[in-house]
Symmetry: C2
Subunit: 226 residues, 2 copies
Amino acid sequence: MIEELQTADGENGRPFSTEQELVQRFHVSRAPVRQALKELADEGYVYRERAKGTFPVQELPVRPPGLELGGLVGFLRDQGLDCTSKIVDTDRVLPTENLCAILGLKPGDHVLKISRLILLAEKPLVWAQSYLSVSEDFQPNKRELERVDSVFLLLGSEQGIVISRGDHQIYASGANREEAELLGIKNGDPVLVIETKLYTRNNRLIGWRRAVHRADEYKFSFTANR
Amino acid sequence: MIEELQTADGENGRPFSTEQELVQRFHVSRAPVRQALKELADEGYVYRERAKGTFPVQELPVRPPGLELGGLVGFLRDQGLDCTSKIVDTDRVLPTENLCAILGLKPGDHVLKISRLILLAEKPLVWAQSYLSVSEDFQPNKRELERVDSVFLLLGSEQGIVISRGDHQIYASGANREEAELLGIKNGDPVLVIETKLYTRNNRLIGWRRAVHRADEYKFSFTANR
DNA sequence: CAGTGGTCTAGACCACGTA
DNA sequence: ACGTGGTCTAGACCACTGT
């Protein structure tokens, strides 16, 4: 029902449309109409006011990127940008003490490390390192990883593990030597760091990700409602 | 109904609770139960799988801050932190050319400028400048602004204007002279900048905000589902 | 197969703005 | 007084998962 409503409301567009009208127009009961309107409201296409009505939100030109987990390359490419990614390194490694603490691992546990450089027009944009606490038989090679552009998709299809939530920390910092070298900037230049704890649907902490972004030319955009 | 469910599900807690059980336990029909469960799922307290059941998400200790619009001081204070704010400056001003373009203003229109410094334990943490395209009769003084900790609350109570959405851009940069001075850091030190376009419920672009955060000691945290 | 959540019907009453 | 969205009742059928 929601799909029909989206198109239909796009057509007649601006003025408004009450639940009653939609019930009659689509010959359905009130429940699906309400659900559809609820979803449209949640997504920011309309806003609703009790006793007043439902009003379309005007001129939302493009849907903002939002905060996808591990879909940056695909997103940028969808925008028509020349975005590629290159696996710097991937291996099963012993986590550092710090990482053990974050992920609650025992010393001796191994994690899958994936270090990836995302390039925009051949120029380094982001250096992302993911550490995943997953079974040993999930060890994709470089070629596979570069093909899918995100480990998380592979995790879903091969292991049935869905990353459903991320706790993000964003901060600015100065690039250290390694970061500067990979990103092609100078030591101490400002960088934007996003660190994310990754959770599955049942809230199991399954990994951690650290993404270092070039400060110039990169702005991280998203929309927050409410 | 949702409130009862939250407490009730907190009690019996871990195992699970089907819609049917809740219907019987609370002597209500399925609709409100479903709505309540939907909300709990949206907020990340439970996750639901078709034909399997509803499962509580384990150990969500504190609700993450999220991206409140203009509630930072209050939020930090709620955490028990010594957070205060100081109005650096407030006035009706002529927007710069750049700001005119962003807000779609005509030259000659005035905007309300509010420059505020947020301090954590007496030390500068964030410098936030808000520019609001609002009626002339809304001109709160410094005292009022410092009392409420956010212009947005005043906007709601005095003008009935609700800020319901923000388009954020986050990036790292080096502090310029003015920023460095206000934040007590050195010129060129990394800072985290959050620029936000502010929208009302009917999607009218009503203002713009630029917040410059000290890079050290400050991490911007939030949670993204899906 | 029985049980789950996802969707739907066809009603009902309420709180709240607008006129 | 009327129309709006918010909430609720009491049913129904379906797709899917587990046994």
